[in-house]
């Protein structure tokens, strides 16, 4: 992983190394973090189709292709897992995924939402967790991009959680009972003018926080790695020897940050799913 990253960034940066303008480093760094309308692999470039629907830009971009790859991976893995006969998993493949799935089921969903309600929502939370986890981890593979490093993708995931919260709560408790229960019952009347706007706003700030948390964690990690690599090229202006001297230290530091990124990928997928469970559990059964 380390060599692949050095290769991919080093080759592309070397193409621009002759330019005098120092902002080429910023452009290069941003190009790796942002979405783009083409996929490039050294000298091979594929321009992705540009689609539009009623004025909304629905073109296929690099992150969309990454999400398709994640979807195909998940379908392959989980259809193979679901075909196993019997209730206890055998073999390394099933046992590996059993760790994650049983952890989500017992320690997260059933703990917070109870068994009856949890059973209904297990497929949703499993899908959400493994989609976010695979998107995050695939961003660390060389020549791949992080789909969850796009605020539109994380925004869509948070909007899905918001819709399940609101619509599930309205279906479970009845429309007006749910709206009444947004403000917790048992609050003294003089607090209501404050609590009602705060709670209503809170319904929208929570998915917004989910969005920005996941997006910022993924993007910041990649930006740190890319900025450290860019440091090598910035030092070139002091002389070639300086950049060669700085390079081993930078690569070691980047290795450490990449390991931290794997940890952060797991944690962020866990946090997103955990908070979704809490919000949906609170909306469907407010007395818990």
């Amino acid at each position: 992983m380390r060599r692949g990253q050095v290769l991919s960034e080093g080759t592309e940066a070397a193409h621009h190394a002759n330019q005098e303008d120092p902002t080429y480093i910023v452009d290069h760094v941003m190009h790796h973090v942002q979405d783009s309308n083409y996929i490039s692999f050294f000298d091979w470039k594929l321009n992705l189709p540009h689609l539009e629907l009623f004025g909304f830009d629905l073109s296929i971009t690099k992150h969309v292709v990454m999400m398709w790859i994640v979807a195909v991976l998940l379908i392959l893995v989980f259809s193979k897992l679901a075909k196993k006969k019997g209730l206890t998993p055998t073999g390394a493949f099933s046992n590996f995924f059993e760790v994650f799935i049983v952890f989500i089921r017992d320690d997260m969903v059933y703990n917070i939402m109870g068994e009856k309600l949890g059973r209904r929502f297990m497929p949703f939370f499993l899908t959400q967790f493994f989609f976010i986890l695979t998107c995050n981890l695939l961003g660390l593979v060389p020549f791949c991009a992080t789909a969850t490093g796009n605020i539109a993708v994380t925004g869509a995931l948070a909007i899905i959680t918001l819709l399940v919260t609101q619509i599930g709560g309205m279906l479970e408790q009845g429309f007006f009972t749910y709206l009444k229960n947004i403000v917790p019952p048992g609050i003294p009347a003089w607090l209501l003018p404050i609590m009602v706007p705060v709670e209503i706003l809170g319904q929208f700030t929570k998915p917004f926080a989910l969005t920005v948390r996941l997006f910022a964690n993924m993007t910041a990690g990649h930006l740190v790695i890319l900025s450290l690599f860019a440091l090598i090229f910035i030092f070139k202006s002091f002389g070639d020897v300086v950049s060669y001297a700085v390079a081993p230290g930078v690569v070691g530091f980047v290795l450490f940050i990449s390991l931290l990124e794997i940890f952060v990928a797991l944690i962020q997928a866990y946090i997103f799913t955990f908070l979704s469970i809490i919000f949906i559990g609170a909306a469907l059964h407010p007395e818990h």
Partner: protein, 75 residues
Amino acid sequence: MDLAFFGAALGSALAVIGAGYGISYLSRSALEGMARQPEASADLRGAMIIAAALIEGIAFFALIICLLMVLLLPK
């Protein structure tokens, strides 16, 4: 304007100071609890990781705003 770059750097530094202070306070309490009761270690570790991720989330809000400020400055 150079002052805007300075403002962005100062903003992100303050955000990181706040998050660092918050998470270090949190991990101090968690470690004290784990030292007093090693059998509660697993619960404390889980709660610590969740709280740390939430605090980091807020720090990242400020970082994203500073980043947007730097990137969207008119040349």
